[in-house]
Symmetry: D2
Subunit: 349 residues, 4 copies
């Protein structure tokens, strides 16, 4: 990359995912935070005044001083990160794409569209080709980032899928509260667990099938992996834990599985994308790992951390994974997707 950075905008900048975008973009080598957009009634306010900053890292001074604008395609940048909520994201993101901008979205609105890549750059970088099928002007397009609980799972599955095939799995999640945005009542999470997250169990199944799908004739043929998910909210700040029991297509030894994870490298690592983890999957050989507070920040929160691999008497193998839900699972994952798009020349410089 040359010295000149690409100006980018964040839509939905005041929410919790929006804040992560602002944090990660404060010091990004390729991207320059040029605009922060929020709802109409906030336009004109200083970001620092409008936001209820919840991250531990301090609010970057430059962002704090930025005046919020409305989320309209008048924003003059070629690349837009969307942290909009699903109930408004659809048409706004479309408008930006029609205006010739590449939208990398964390919202669920367009994820399952047949012509929209649902991208985990280490897993299905080739799905970027779906952009060709989108009917937007030059430079315009929509790329989506999967659901926070899906990304960590997809990263752990991909190396196994390639070498041994994954037939099906039962996964139970213990999800952090940051994924619920600012609105989750604190009262529900003192001395409690909530065994329900609206739509999450369905997303884990359908998104995993799309991500692991194969590109054939310009279309993604969904994987036939059967995913049964049960999702819980637990009193953890960041980091989704997922307990997985899975059935493989071909037998594998413990060492082969560990090797598949250990040796897993893909395009983001080869291209040394700025947000790419050196190791997309990190296995910890400690019976009490992974733990959210202790391991969520490994590889700057961009890896899936796996532990407790054991033979499963019911299926073939079981293990526990941990993924940072607002880094890899949201803003960080979207940044990595955007970096891939840039490296592949999908964004005009």
């Amino acid at each position: 990359m040359g010295a000149k950075r690409i100006p980018v905008a964040v839509l939905g900048a005041t929410g919790s995912v929006g804040q992560r975008f602002v944090q990660l973009l404060a010091d990004h080598p390729w991207f320059e935070l040029a605009a922060l957009a929020a709802s109409e009634r906030r336009a004109g306010e200083r970001y620092g005044d409008a936001v209820r900053w919840v991250l531990d890292a301090p609010l970057p001074a430059a962002a704090a001083a930025t005046l919020l604008c409305e989320a309209t395609p008048a924003i003059d940048v070629p690349l837009v990160f969307s942290a909009l909520s699903a109930d408004v994201a659809g048409p706004i993101e479309e408008a930006f794409a029609r205006a010739g901008k590449l939208v990398v979205s964390n919202a669920s609105s367009h994820r399952m569209r047949r012509d929209v890549p649902l991208l985990v750059p280490e897993v299905n970088a080739d799905h970027l080709a779906l952009l060709e099928r989108q009917d937007y002007p030059q430079g315009g397009g929509i790329v989506t980032n999967p659901n926070c609980s899906t990304i960590g799972l997809a990263l752990a599955l991909a190396p196994l899928e390639r070498r041994f095939g994954v037939r099906g799995l039962h996964v139970v999640t213990l999800q952090a509260i940051s994924g619920a945005g600012l609105g989750l009542p604190g009262m529900d999470l003192v001395d409690n667990v909530v065994p329900f997250i609206g739509g999450e169990e369905e997303k884990l199944a359908s998104e995993t099938r799309k991500i692991l799908g194969r590109l054939q004739g310009g279309e993604v043929r969904e994987s036939e992996v059967v995913v049964s998910a049960q999702c819980n909210r637990v009193p953890v700040l960041d980091g989704h834990t997922e307990c997985v029991s899975l059935r493989l297509a071909r037998p594998a030894t413990r060492d082969e599985l560990l090797a598949a994870w250990r040796e897993f490298r893909a395009e983001p690592q080869e291209l040394a994308l700025p947000s790419a983890p050196a190791r997309p999957v990190v296995y910890l050989d400690d019976p009490a790992a992974p733990q959210p507070r202790k391991h969520r920040d490994l590889e700057r929160g961009m890896a899936t951390v796996v532990g407790r691999l054991q033979p499963c008497p019911l299926h073939d193998w079981r293990f526990v994974l941990l993924s940072h839900n607002t880094l890899r699972g949201a803003a960080g994952g979207a940044l990595l997707a955007a970096e891939l798009a840039v490296a592949r020349g999908r964004v005009p410089r």
Copy 2:
């Protein structure tokens, strides 16, 4: 029952399970708390001074004033509840049995002995017959209470097993910290989950097979149900949540499953044992149930609370259960087992 109550002792009375025994026995219609035993160095101390009381309910005054004694068979009662830790329980419980006392134990030491009942009174009351095989003097014997995470599962499985057969299951637990006794460091459970509880995953599998086993020729033939368990500790005070996906031997509709749970009644209900829940399994038709803080005390903490029954794309059905780990899962379950033994004439009055 007549007016005269049976004098009982609690071994290991200062620990967290011991405290639950003391609480539940303070006002029991059949049993009278006659002795509290702890380690030798504490003998002679007032219970109220020796105990670090952790329950929300106040320490009963009569128990507080009781002087602790040593855990030796000199204690003159026919029925003994053991809340000893597994590293010391074995020989002490044996000594009591050899002295002609019935020991109802919450410790794991004797659970898997072929001649010792592992009792969930609604599920395998007939296993009490194993007492005949024990070689102790008149009145002596050992009955055990399963592990806290096993009991809740066994109660939910039993009605399904009877009507449809259970082939196998994957269960992921989210276990409360009270089950870890007083020694669990608080630091591990702020903003964290620990995906490891020593020995728990094995116990869930082996104990479930024994509990669901059939008594044949005076022996228990273990069930062949395949149980794969992954166990986590979460920041909840009381109440183990368990996410279950299971395969049945015979097909069943949702209504049939719900009916099996709803109609489930067994000997404790028929005998109206003092600690028996009116409904051993309570199904809640609320997408966000069961939740530990809100539902653990249903049926005085003696029921398994089930919710979120859904078809499972991988197996047949999945659901979430909740069981109070120190009531039904420990002291309360042991009391119910003792009540069954008394009702069946196993304890001299």
Copy 3:
């Protein structure tokens, strides 16, 4: 009281304080829950569908089936409990008073009005006389309940004020999250304390002065007690803890202070009002008491629980108090105030 109960309404019934009213009124000997009011857009919905029930106790079935109405004086009851938020409570409560209804309000809107009683029934029952000064039709009037952190403090101070005089005090609160309603982000209260609650420090000072004030010539002359408060939000579900150091007007021994609390009884106890605690102040002689989870429910959550009375090297004495913020500190306190008004003939039967 005769057998006929007084029909009452709850305004703001879906919020967390409104839920407590619904819970406490489900089985009240004097009052009958006749109407539940919420915002206009919810009118017509079943309460059970509209509410996001956060209490551990189950939602009463009769209330669940009640259809929500709008908060207008057309509701035909003589007594109204207001759990409205302060930004809307003012004019709505006025409208009910003008329509000849007695409003007992938990909102702050009218608390500091010179003609409105700010009532803690054990402390300033005589302030009810302020109702004479209100210019509403027969039966109409407004009575307010103090802020949740003020009530517990006022109960602990009143007996000391009467016997020894209280000159001033520094109080630091550790407040539960239920007091923040449903909107407090859970993220702020994992591994954290927030040293700020908007307006709370001011309310503790000004409300305490009014409550401890004397009725003279039909007016309340505020007490001159100096109250300096620092308020914190802590990860506790229910129960405000307050650490107090105070200066007395006249010297007192430890025994005299304990006696003042122990012997404290007032009109609610003499009248045996249904919600009155037998002991308004309970002192616990345990170095580690009071603790929210263990002691908040003493006297059904209607007492101030005090402990750790010690000489203070800076002032005269220091102690720790605990008060249940949504029972005594909100709905329960308002019910007690209403019961006092009824007992004094302020509500037409």
Copy 4:
């Protein structure tokens, strides 16, 4: 400092403070971790096997591989950090001092000895002169680090004491659980606050008087500041919050107080000691600051973070402070004290 580092030992290396020493010494520019000592029965074990590592930062590999030794003066290092518990620290630390080693201790055993400095390097560096009064061989001596809740308070008070004099104060602490070591039961800190920490209230008073005392004629004359402390344990991992109301000897404006904190620099800053914070006191001008999770790591956990300065109607001023209890309040503070001793030539190189 030259390139050669001073070999040091940590006594009590497996506890939570010992772990912080190990973490901070892993990469220290002046000190080289040469020995890790624990109880006799652990001697010979690998540190990595013996320790139950609770820190979020990973256990340094070199330390993990170190074999534990016994805590005897045979350890051949000139400088020793003691993280021993108070019940054993006294005689062991003495033995090291008599063997000609400088002991920097976090234990309370020797803190109040008239010939032992109780050091907060920014506040009373001159107290190091007390070492002259200790009767140990050349190189031998004992320096102590104050209690974790005292250090943060002393740092906030010192600049005010110098400019305006501090007469007295009431302080209420909300202390993190890491300060309680590994032994605090998790059950006490779910949905709860414990208003009692054994000995803490007394230490805060007596240690503050010693730290703020003046060295006169080779002795420390204790300050006459009156400190009244009430101490609570709250469910926070790291970071003690303290709410302070204080009376000054001379009047000061808000700006003067802020300037006193802002301009506060002392010997550790002038000498640029490796562990010294650039700003010993950081004032945050945000109504909701300081918060433990968000601000405890400012200045690498070595500053006292202050906020919410307001006039106090009872005394003169009130504010809230935050101090990282296991960094500045324990291992980090002890390291800074040792660095000061080295810079002053008290440790042979």
